[in-house]
């Protein structure tokens, strides 16, 4: 039996997510506060970059999350498309704006980190370039979703785009890396950032967990309103709406 039963899933997810959101939100808040304290105050300055390296604690988690969110989005989209499960379509659709925000933050914090290190805001560094292309993939996904009225066709069409996209991500990633080494083989790049000491690893992990829980929380919040919209013709939604004045 598929673990997500196609018809009952949206309603059960709505209720389940409803109970978990406060907990997730709480954990996110705690992680963020401790992550900021550890990253900005507790961790010692780097001998090479001084305090500028602290940008790493927001840049790296966002870069990871931008990649992870795309893979999660693509797998929800594929599940929704192949087994025709509406809940998966909804989770894929709401994951996109979050992933795009992570990518945008990674780009901006990356260039802000680049300035003190190389003197310019934008360096065609391999990681930033593939991050930028990932951002275009997100924008393409959301544009396709927005331009198709029929919810099911929009979900399935963008699912195919996400699957094609997720296949292309490693190819784009390595092409950009090889392209980069062809042109600037020797220079310091963001890829080989300063050696990570234990004191740096701890804030990095805490901040990464914080962003993961943040993603989880907001995914549930966005999914719940999307479920209400998509299931507005069902009885349980109608009862819900009439119930609450």
């Amino acid at each position: 039996m598929k673990f997500i039963h196609k018809y009952g899933a949206p309603k059960r997810f709505y209720q389940l997510a409803g109970t978990f959101i406060p907990w997730f939100a709480g954990i996110t808040a705690v992680l963020f506060v401790s992550g900021l304290y550890l990253g900005l105050y507790w961790a010692p300055p780097d001998y090479q970059q001084g305090d500028a390296y602290r940008i790493m604690f927001v840049h790296v988690p966002n870069a990871w999350m931008s990649m992870m969110a795309y893979v999660i989005m693509a797998s929800f989209a594929a599940t929704g498309y192949i087994w025709n499960i509406r809940l998966a379509d909804i989770l894929a659709r709401v994951s996109a704006p979050l992933g795009a925000s992570f990518t945008l933050t990674a780009l901006v914090t990356g260039s802000l980190w680049g300035k003190p290190m190389w003197g310019t805001y934008w360096v065609w560094d391999a990681r930033l370039t593939s991050e930028l292309i990932l951002f275009f993939l997100y924008v393409g996904y959301m544009a396709l979703q927005a331009s198709i009225d029929d919810a099911r066709r929009a979900a399935h069409a963008s699912a195919i785009l996400a699957i094609v996209g997720v296949v292309n991500i490693p190819i784009i990633h390595y092409s950009v890396y090889w392209w980069h080494t062809l042109h600037q083989p020797a220079s310091l790049t963001l890829t080989n950032q300063p050696k990570i000491y234990a004191t740096m690893l701890i804030p990095l992990i805490v901040m990464s967990l914080a962003f993961m829980f943040f993603y989880l929380t907001m995914l549930c919040v966005r999914a719940r309103s999307e479920i209400l919209l998509r299931e507005r013709h069902t009885d349980w939604v109608r009862k819900l709406v009439e119930g609450k004045p």
Binding site: D51, A52, R232, K244
Partner: protein
């Protein structure tokens, strides 16, 4: 470590704080926007959002 020292971030105050500031803005936006959207959805449902959509379907066979 005085407050001023902390703020100066070893001279990189502008870069560090704008990086964290931008991240904060994106995080807050990603909290506020879904919540306002949620309220709009509830208002729409209460007003019977689907009536509009029903007419639109009548013509498209």
């Amino acid at each position: 470590m005085t407050w001023a020292q902390f703020l100066s971030m070893g001279g990189f105050a502008f870069y560090v704080w704008s990086a964290y500031g931008f991240t904060a803005v994106v995080v807050v936006l990603n909290i506020v926007q879904p919540l306002t959207h949620k309220r709009k959805v509830w208002q729409g449902l209460r007003r019977g959002l689907d009536d509009g959509e029903e007419e639109r379907h009548e013509e498209a066979e």
